[in-house]
């Protein structure tokens, strides 16, 4: 079967996904790797999400301090200056109630547990998959419904 060099967005949407696409949810991707930022940015935009990226934890904290807010934060663990766990703790201390999800290539259960305990809502292994995103959107919709 021959197609153009483009994937149609229909390859990502199913009947159940239609409800969660185009929902004006905002996401902050915090990762020091330009490659990962680009990957996650593209993947999330496919679901109609509004994406902003931060190169490191300090930038993420500064964004919140300047009054920005996001529905979802995707947090890398291994970053210079402030690692993902430190940033998460700082944001929670500041009163940030956004969903914070760790995205890490950490193997050890203990390391992941420590990251979760910093204040994450969920933790996924890099790279983020379509299934992960669908799960997160469902969780965000639940959260929004509870808060309204």
């Amino acid at each position: 079967m021959m197609l153009g060099n483009c994937a149609t967005s229909s390859s990502l949407s199913t009947e159940s996904d239609e409800d969660i696409v185009n929902n004006n949810l905002t996401v902050l991707v915090v990762d020091d790797s330009p490659m990962i930022r680009k990957l996650h940015d593209m993947h999330l935009k496919k679901f109609g999400l509004k994406v902003q990226v931060a190169e490191n934890g300090k930038n993420a904290v500064d964004l919140f301090r300047s009054g920005a807010s996001f529905n979802l934060i995707l947090m890398d663990k291994e970053m210079p200056i402030m690692d993902g766990a430190e940033v998460t703790k700082e944001l929670r201390t500041m009163g940030v109630t956004s969903m914070i999800v760790g995205v890490t290539s950490l193997d050890s259960i203990f390391d992941r547990q420590a990251f979760m305990e910093a204040g994450l809502d969920h933790c996924f292994t890099k790279p983020l998959t379509t299934e992960n995103i669908i799960f997160l959107l469902q969780e965000l919709n639940k959260k929004n419904n509870e808060e309204n």
Partner: protein
């Protein structure tokens, strides 16, 4: 070369890369994210991977040349390389990083040096394979054809 032949060559070549574990499902996911609004997405992401990996390989070489090796630092670089290679589906690079990390934990210099050689080898192999794949795709597009799924 005629278009149909080129397209068949591409499919066979791409299949071989999966079959020989140079690439895995994650690369397929990457291709599925590309669309007409972002027609160079895969090439751009892979180029970032190349830049990142070469920087990390240089850092690893330097770190392992030190009189007193900082194994934590070496491990951090390998961990990063493992993460980025898994994100684009470069399976053999990713797997070679796993063994490397074990030697870092044991603080085994010889083991680390051997692994660095292996990781470098796997990286340059996948790099040349991906470049060949992109070249084939470009030839097909230049001939007015489309990339077969």
């Amino acid at each position: 070369m005629d278009l149909v032949k080129l397209q068949r060559q591409l499919v066979d070549y791409r299949d071989s890369l999966y079959h020989e574990c140079f690439l895995d499902e994650q690369f397929t996911q990457l291709q599925e994210l590309q669309d007409e609004n972002n027609p160079d997405f895969v090439v751009e992401v892979v180029s970032l991977f190349f830049e990142d990996s070469e920087r990390l390989l240089n850092e690893l070489t330097k770190a392992l040349e030190q009189q007193s090796i900082d194994f934590k630092r070496v491990d951090a670089h390998v961990h990063q390389l493992k993460g980025s290679s898994s994100s684009i589906g470069a399976q053999r690079v990713q797997k070679s990083c796993i063994a490397f990390r074990n030697y870092c934990e044991e603080q085994n210099v010889e083991g680390c040096l051997t692994c660095l050689q292996l990781v470098r080898q796997e990286y340059y192999l996948v790099k040349s394979k991906l470049e060949a794949l992109f070249k084939l795709e470009q030839q097909i597009l230049s001939a007015g054809g489309s990339i077969p799924i």
